[in-house]
């Protein structure tokens, strides 16, 4: 059993809000891709939100999983609520780690090919929406893990 139920409610609520942010960001990724590739229009927040439809699907999936945490808690299914926190948080953290690793790879690549390492690019990559939301996701992920340990007894 979960020791502190209020904390689980707070975590689910936080995950719900974060989930909505993920869904909005994912939708913007798809929107940006459509406007830049097909309509020749300007993308919204293009420095932080990439024009990548697949990333959009991934972000929306994470958002839905986070929202499922609140949904299942409301329906009284604590296990599914915690599982949603764990899976949604885990995926968000993996995406964020991948973005950080990709930034590192970019830096190493610039050194190998003797190209100029643009600090702006490094900062932009680290502050991309999947990175920023991933840093925030560390909170629900670790809370999810804590609850998981508790229900395992």
């Amino acid at each position: 059993m979960v020791k502190n139920k209020s904390l689980l409610i707070a975590a689910s609520l936080f995950a719900f809000i974060l989930g909505l942010t993920y869904i909005a960001s994912g939708s913007l990724c798809i929107y940006n891709w459509i406007v830049t590739s097909l309509i020749n229009n300007t993308a919204i927040l293009e420095r932080f939100i990439p024009q990548d439809p697949w990333l959009g699907i991934v972000l929306i999936s994470i958002g839905l999983t986070y929202n499922a945490s609140a949904y299942y808690l409301m329906r009284g299914n604590m296990v599914l609520s915690i599982a949603s926190l764990l899976v949604g948080g885990g995926l968000a953290v993996i995406i964020m780690s991948l973005q950080v690793l990709a930034t590192l790879a970019y830096a190493v690549d610039a050194i190998i090919t003797n190209e100029e390492l643009k600090l702006n690019n490094v900062v932009d990559n680290l502050l991309r929406i999947d990175g920023v939301l991933g840093y925030v996701s560390l909170i629900p992920f670790f809370l999810g893990y804590k609850f998981y340990k508790e229900i395992r007894g």
Partner: protein, 686 residues
């Protein structure tokens, strides 16, 4: 059968178990990871053989890894291979890997193998998982009930491996086997005895070769393989008598096969109950239960599967860049310049080595890090247990397209290589299901196509490169589903069969196991680069420096006007009549011709025909392709004719007719798709 007293220098141990039980890990632990990989005679199912030495009996033990199976029926090729090996090759010991966390399923296989009168040792694996789930298997009691050694193991942590090795040696020293493992009731037992007696009387050779009781049971079950064998040895009078007994059994029991399976399974459950001790009163919630509620969720399962597949490609694509560039600098920079600087060689040889072999093979080798990282993540997903979930989640979608659930396994395998994917369709019992899966399996985007996508996408897609490459994989799945439905509604009408799959528990992947699997899979790419691709680029080089007018010289590779006079120019220009609506250069069209040998050759050919290193190739390609024509080229490469090895495997599996159908429908589909995308893209972009 070997006996240690005979002073043999080599003994054989066969390893068998249900899928996902840790069979490969135990094989690797026993043999130190050194294995010889080949095929089983007459079929292209992989056979792995390793060895370890025993000082105690002063002999070498050859360990044969049998395919993962659930039973010993004659319906699937894997089960036939396993049972024929045990009966005909008579290994000195059969090591059965049982799953302590799901004992009933494993015990069914144990009982089936023991009926073959094999000398059995049981490795009771995953005892830690069983314990974490709240129960313990009393292995001593299991050993007493079955009358064979039972060794508890945790293969991934190397626990029990040494004990298992000792038990194998002991079993070789004192062979034991039980004739009657399961009793099928008075009525059937009487008939089994009668059939057995007739068989012993009818042919000594037959009953020496095969265990008579097992032959009798299988004959009564109506096993086709066994019946054919019996017909070969038994005369007509005795056969009539056997058939009479079979009918008699059917009158008393009904469906014999169903009855035998039921009795054996009941016995397996009974034994499992006797040897299972609950160590906690309340069953603990485990990680598998918790994660599966979401990862196999009816709504979230598919989007999460899409996300995980995206992660797989993005990981391989983005993190490999520095490594690929490093290889490119070494091969196409340092090595190529060094070869060109060697003044003592004739010009043609320098050109062959630098512009042919190094440019061609080098253009393919730069993708080694991408392929290795791709297989690295794939191995992690496999070891964690996620790939089985992916199959489970996608199964629901497959049924909507009238495809059998089992076809997901060949389709996923196809992402590695289409050849084993076509072979894997043998596990599908229904003939039409099998044919439709074999026909669509080459649409799975194999790893050989990846270098082509990466080269084109990297050259012309800019920030969308990862998305474009991922699209190819999803497009391959969509096309496979549509074509499956098409074949199901046209040439292969009929109902689809169901899919029973055991989901393994989630496990933390072992680094050594993941690295070994990555190496095993990447090795094929390296071997191909050194053989087929090597020869392929030499052919491309030869066709580029010669033409109808004779030898054109290495200058042809630097001067497009001279190159257009070469054989490759003639071929490329002839085919470019068809590909010009898509806006492809004749040299890129020519490269496609060689993709028939192996898909990676396309990149090697582009390297020879258009330029040199990966970087300069991308530079040249960015002028040759627009993003739209590049994308249509990628789609064409995904769909058009499978490589020669895949076509050969379709021919051997389904016959020449189906190999021709596959080649034809894929070329037509590829052309139509590329044309449609060109037209729609052209209208949208303006």
């Amino acid at each position: 059968m070997g006996n240690v007293t005979t002073g043999k220098l080599k003994y054989t141990a066969a390893i068998v178990g249900i899928p996902n039980v840790g069979k490969s890990v135990i094989f690797n632990k026993l043999t130190g990871g050194k294995a010889w990989v080949g095929n089983w005679p007459g079929v292209t199912v992989e056979k792995k053989v390793g060895r370890f030495r025993s000082e105690e009996i002063n002999a070498e033990i050859e360990v044969v890894d049998l395919p993962g199976i659930y039973s010993l029926t004659a319906y699937s090729i894997d089960e036939l291979i396993a049972r024929n090996f045990i009966i005909e090759e008579k290994p000195d010991v059969v090591v059965i890997i049982a799953n302590a966390a799901n004992l009933e399923r494993s015990l069914y296989l144990v009982l089936s193998i023991m009926e073959l009168e094999a000398n059995v040792v049981i490795a009771l694996n995953m005892v830690d998982i069983a314990r974490s789930e709240g129960y313990e298997i009393l292995h001593d009691k299991l050993e007493r009930i079955l009358g064979v050694p039972v060794i508890p193991t945790i293969a991934v942590s190397n626990v029990g491996i040494e004990e298992l090795r000792k038990s194998i040696i002991n079993s070789i020293k004192k062979r034991t086997s039980r004739v009657k493992v399961v009793s099928y009731g008075k009525d059937l037992e009487e008939i089994i005895s009668e059939v057995k007696e007739i068989l012993v009387r009818a042919s000594h050779e037959l009953t020496v070769k095969y265990p008579p009781r097992w032959l009798a049971i299988k004959f009564l079950e109506g096993d086709e393989d066994v019946t054919t064998k019996i017909r070969r040895y038994v005369d007509n009078t005795m056969l009539t008598e056997l058939m009479r007994l079979k009918r008699k059994a059917e009158e008393i029991i009904g469906d014999i096969e169903e009855y035998v399976t039921e009795v054996k399974f009941k016995r397996a459950i009974e034994i499992a109950r006797l040897v299972t001790k609950h160590i906690s009163l309340t069953a603990k919630m485990n990680v598998t239960d918790i994660l599966d509620t979401i990862l196999t969720h009816k709504v979230l399962g598919i989007p999460l599967a899409l996300s995980i597949m995206y992660l797989l490609f993005r990981f391989a694509f983005e993190l490999s860049a520095p490594l690929s560039d490093g290889i490119d600098v070494l091969i196409n920079g340092v090595l190529r310049d060094w070869v060109k600087s060697l003044g003592f060689m004739p010009t043609w040889l320098t050109s062959l080595l630098a512009d042919g072999v190094i440019a061609g093979v080098g253009a393919v080798l730069v993708f080694l890090p991408v392929i290795a990282l791709f297989f690295f993540v794939l191995s992690i997903l496999e070891d964690i247990g996620y790939l089985a979930r992916l199959a489970f989640v996608i199964d629901k979608v497959l049924h909507k397209f009238k495809l059998p659930g089992k076809s997901i396994i060949p389709l996923i395998m196809g992402f590695g290589c289409n050849v084993p994917a076509v072979m894997a369709t043998r596990a599908i019992e229904d003939e039409k299901d099998r044919k439709v899966t074999a026909l669509i399996a080459p649409l799975s985007s194999c790893s050989a196509r990846l270098p082509v996508y990466l080269t084109i996408a990297g050259a012309v897609m800019g920030a969308y490169a990862a998305a474009a490459v991922t699209s190819m994989y999803w497009l391959s799945i969509v096309l496979a589903l549509i074509m499956g439905l098409f074949f199901r509604k046209t040439i292969l009408r009929g109902p689809t069969t169901g899919f029973i799959m055991e989901l393994p528990p989630y496990l933390v992947p072992r680094v050594d196991n993941v690295l070994m699997k990555t190496w095993e899979r990447t090795k094929h790419f390296l071997i191909k680069a050194g053989t087929v691709i090597f020869v392929g680029v030499i052919i491309v080089w030869l066709l580029s420096v010669t033409g109808p007018s004779g030898y054109l010289g290495p200058e042809a590779l630097e001067n497009p006007d001279i190159l257009s006079e070469s054989w490759i120019g003639v071929l490329g220009k002839a085919f470019s009549v068809l590909t010009s609506p898509m806006g492809w250069d004749w040299r890129t069209t020519a490269a496609l011709i060689f993709g028939f040998i192996a898909k990676e050759i396309i990149v090697g050919s582009l390297g020879v025909l258009l330029g040199a290193s990966e970087e300069s190739l991308r530079e040249v390609l960015s002028h040759v392709f627009t993003p739209l024509s590049g994308f249509t080229y990628m789609v064409f490469v995904l769909v058009y004719v499978p490589c020669i090895a895949t076509l050969a495997s379709i021919r051997s599996e389904l016959g020449m007719k189906y190999a021709i159908i596959t080649a034809l429908y894929q070329v037509i589909l590829a052309y139509v798709l590329a044309l449609i995308i060109s037209c729609i893209g052209g209208i949208l972009i303006g």
